[in-house]
């Protein structure tokens, strides 16, 4: 059932329901194949969200008009008496006049990125801000300074900045400019620009009921709810596959050596048995590569999109709030005794804000949908490719074994 337009209270409930749905959706997997009966914790901090390098290709689609290039690389560990943390090099190349120099190179740590994202969210409330990888990791479960973790996070931060840099509005944001170019980031700067949203939140918490969410935004909400569910399921399937593959690998690693052990007590069969053992070993390394690729490249993209959906839902919520504020003001005007005086300008301003918000959101939505299609096309063809490669490696191993086995046999028959 597709929910119709909702009041803002209902909207909140709807979001809660959607979250519950997503959780329940996970239970769908319980009637899937679960050989051991144990389930995987989706919220495992070990798989902190991150992004993919290969998505860069998409961004080059409008490469001709691009005038701002940002990369995040070279992570470095800093140890001081107070704390230990990682900084990343943020390099910028640009022809934009907003920048004093054509090139910058600064070092930033995660909390700086977090600062930037908060600033963007506050100063560009009508826009969809790309997600950052999750901030918190459970101590002991994940080594925050391990090479894999840092690399996964680096990729995610790189993706975040690239998405901002490619955005027609966000890329001109002053905080973004400062983040890329300032030697020392003055995080107090712009503190005065505190959210204008504080005002509208009042209307929502005050129990004002939104008359109707316009159909197109209601459809976005519905879309996001279903998409969250599906991505959650795909994420769980992918994790389960990785788990099954790892367990398969454990058995295969034991399987190959049994052939070699057997070979040691045979004469004529020694070579064929060793050959089979070798083939199994080759298949092991091919599978290992596949599994590694799935967990390091496939899962992070899913996670980025799950967070992206959260960002998108936040923007939708804010839009509802702005509309609620406008409708409340409009109502107040309607109940005035003096109906002849013109509608006050602040009400008109409010209407403008709703319209701007709607326009910005629609543009971001279309852009996001387009990116999403490209990203998933690439992600899924990539997955297919990796599986094909795995099979091709195994195929090559087994095919090379056949002539070895057959030649030996023919040679033996001849000598007989």
């Amino acid at each position: 059932s597709v929910p119709g337009p909702l009041s803002s209270n209902q909207t909140l409930k709807f979001f809660e329901a959607a979250a519950t749905n997503a959780r329940e959706n996970c239970d769908l997997l319980s009637d899937l194949y679960l050989p051991n009966g144990n389930t995987v914790d989706t919220s495992s901090p070990a798989s902190s969200s991150s992004l993919l390098n290969r998505l860069q290709l998409d961004d080059d689609l409008d490469g001709e008009t691009r005038d701002l290039f940002v990369t995040v690389d070279d992570p470095k560990k800093h140890v001081s008496t107070m704390e230990t943390y990682i900084t990343y090099r943020v390099s910028t190349k640009t022809t934009r006049t907003e920048f004093d120099l054509p090139e910058y190179s600064v070092r930033r740590r995660y909390q700086d990125f977090d600062w930037l994202r908060n600033k963007l969210e506050d100063s560009q409330p009508t826009h969809l801000i790309p997600p950052l990888p999750e901030k918190f990791v459970m101590k002991g479960v994940v080594d925050r300074f391990s090479e894999e973790f840092v690399e996964t996070r680096r990729k995610a931060l790189d993706k975040f900045l690239k998405r901002v840099a490619d955005h027609p509005v966000l890329s001109f944001n002053d905080h973004f400019n400062a983040f890329l170019s300032a030697k020392d980031l003055n995080k107090r700067q712009g503190l005065a620009l505190l959210s204008k949203m504080g005002e509208s939140v009042k209307y929502v918490t005050g129990g004002y009921k939104l008359r109707a969410r316009p159909v197109e935004f209601a459809a976005m909400g519905d879309y996001l709810d279903v998409f969250t569910q599906k991505l959650g399921t795909i994420d769980r399937i992918a994790q389960r596959i990785i788990k099954e593959q790892s367990e398969y690998l454990v058995e295969l690693r034991e399987y190959g050596p049994v052939y070699s052990l057997w070979a040691s007590s045979e004469e004529v069969l020694q070579e064929p048995l060793d050959g089979v053992g070798g083939c199994v070993a080759n298949c092991c390394s091919a599978l290992e590569e596949l599994t590694e690729d799935m967990s390091e490249d496939f899962l992070p993209v899913l996670r980025e999109y799950i967070l992206y959906i959260e960002s998108m839902k936040n923007v939708l919520k804010k839009r509802d709030q702005v509309q609620a504020e406008y409708e409340a003001k409009l109502e107040a005007v309607a109940f005035r005794e003096d109906k002849k005086t013109p509608v006050p300008t602040d009400v008109e301003k409010c209407q403008d804000r709703v319209e701007c918000f709607n326009a910005d959101l629609k543009a971001d939505w279309d852009r996001w949908q387009n990116n999403k299609r490209q990203d998933f096309r690439q992600l899924l063809t990539g997955m297919a490719d990796k599986n094909i490669q795995n099979y091709e490696k195994c195929l090559a191993a087994w095919e090379s074994l056949i002539p070895l086995l057959q030649d030996k046999q023919e040679a033996k028959v001849e000598t007989n």
């Binding site: 194949y33 058995e251 057997w262 089979v276 299609r373 195929l395 087994w398």
Partner: protein
């Protein structure tokens, strides 16, 4: 499909079992009078299996499976003419067991082909271990046919009359088997179990072969165990992919441009998940081939044990003869060279009369004569056994190397076809994804 390829392959194994020169060789060594194996004169197959219900010995209702054995005489002169319809009869698994036990006892120098397993072992969890499971019954049918073909192509076993009547005489066969009295002989086999540690001069070749049998049994059972676990995991990997099928299809409902691609990619994921059933069913045939050799190791060790028994009996006879000779010496010279109870008693209770001594020497001499005859017989028996057994062990070794190499080749071919299927499905899926 598996059954077809299975029986075909087995038939090939049976037919190529002996080259003419090998056959000649074996005939000389085993002194079999007939000129060719039964398989050259008769087509044999186990055509089908059927479930039956009846009363057993204690009048309890039981369900069992019977197998239809079809035989047809091969007449080389009438080649091309319409072959006569096959003769057929039904046998239970227990009758196959009886036949094998008879062969085992009667031809103790032969590495007797094993029967397929009575209960499913080393199976991966998806496979039923139920004796009445149709897949199991079918694999057993193939296994029993393979057993008959192996016996029918064996240079010695194939000429056995009991075996022939097993194939051709439905009624009264059991009685004929029991009339041979093979069970009485079988008791001596049990003694062989204890003989191992008492043999003074074991034959190095047989000792090595016995050791090899132990190794082979341990490594094949390990291989089968791990393979079953590998199959379990492979099944898991494939089946979990099937879930993509459903979620892609559900997801496609909310997408415009991506919808079609997702939907059809989902179908390919379904096909991928389903393909593992055939893959693993085919692999089960490979497992059966390995299992046959796992069970063969027991037959190999039985021959080695029988050899130990022969050797033990020979050594006992020789030892007995030596001690008799020593006793005669002692009586004749009146000296006790070594400590013996007899020596002690004669010292304690005084000397015997010369007549008594004379009578004793006489008895001993006739016993020595018998003993010498006995040692001679045992020696001949042992030599004969060693010669025959070694010929059959050599034959077995060649058969094993040939069969297992074939099995490995067909296993590699299975893996190749699995990889090709995998590449096919993922390429199809990739095509769908790239159109999104």
């Amino acid at each position: 499909m598996m059954a077809d390829t299975g029986s075909e392959e087995i038939a090939v194994i049976g037919n190529t079992d002996l080259t003419p020169s090998e056959l000649e060789n074996n005939i000389k060594n085993t002194m079999v009078e007939k000129g060719a194996t039964l398989l050259k004169r008769m087509e044999i197959n186990v055509a089908e299996a059927e479930k039956r219900t009846g009363k057993n010995a204690v009048s309890m209702q039981e369900t069992y499976t019977v197998y239809l054995i079809e035989t047809r005489a091969v007449d080389p002169s009438s080649e091309g003419a319409n072959p006569a319809p096959p003769d057929s009869l039904w046998r239970r698994y227990s009758e196959f067991e009886l036949l094998r036990n008879y062969l085992l006892v009667t031809y103790s120098f032969v590495v007797v082909p094993p029967l397929p397993e009575k209960r499913a072992e080393f199976v991966w969890h998806k496979l039923s271990a139920d004796n009445m499971d149709p897949d199991f019954v079918e694999r057993r049918r193939v296994g029993l046919e393979n057993f008959l073909l192996r016996v029918a192509s064996h240079p010695v076993l194939s000429n056995d009359k009991i075996f022939y009547s097993f194939l051709t005489q439905e009624q009264g066969w059991k009685e004929v088997v029991f009339e041979t009295g093979f069970q009485a002989k079988s008791d001596s086999r049990l003694k062989a179990l204890n003989a191992t540690f008492r043999v003074k001069n074991p034959d190095k070749r047989f000792a090595e072969m016995k050791h090899y049998g132990d190794e082979l049994q341990s490594v094949i059972s390990q291989l089968l165990r791990v393979r079953a676990r590998v199959a379990d995991r492979l099944y898991g990997v494939y089946k979990v992919h099937g879930n993509y099928g459903r979620v892609f299809s559900e997801w496609s409902a909310i997408e415009r441009e991506m919808g079609d691609g997702l939907q059809s990619a989902g179908h390919h994921m379904d096909a991928y998940a389903a393909s593992v059933d055939d893959i693993l069913e085919e692999e089960e045939h490979y497992a059966d081939q390995l299992k046959e050799y796992l069970f063969y190791t027991e037959a190999l060790r039985a021959v080695c044990r029988k050899h130990e028994l022969c050797q033990f009996e020979l050594e006992m006879a020789a030892q007995d003869l030596t001690s008799k000779k020593q006793q005669r010496e002692e009586l004749a010279t009146g000296t006790v060279r070594t400590f013996s109870l007899k020596g002690m008693t004669s010292k304690l209770f005084g000397q015997e009369t010369p007549e008594q001594r004379e009578a004793k020497i006489k008895t001993l001499e006739s016993q020595i004569e018998e003993g010498e005859e006995m040692v001679k017989d045992k020696n001949a028996e042992s030599e004969e056994f060693v010669k025959n057994a070694w010929v059959d062990i050599e034959r077995f070794r060649e058969q094993k190397d040939r069969d297992l190499k074939e099995a490995l080749i067909s296993y590699a071919i299975m893996q190749i076809s699995m990889c090709k299927k995998g590449i096919q499905v993922w390429s199809n899926a990739k095509e769908c994804f790239s159109k999104m």
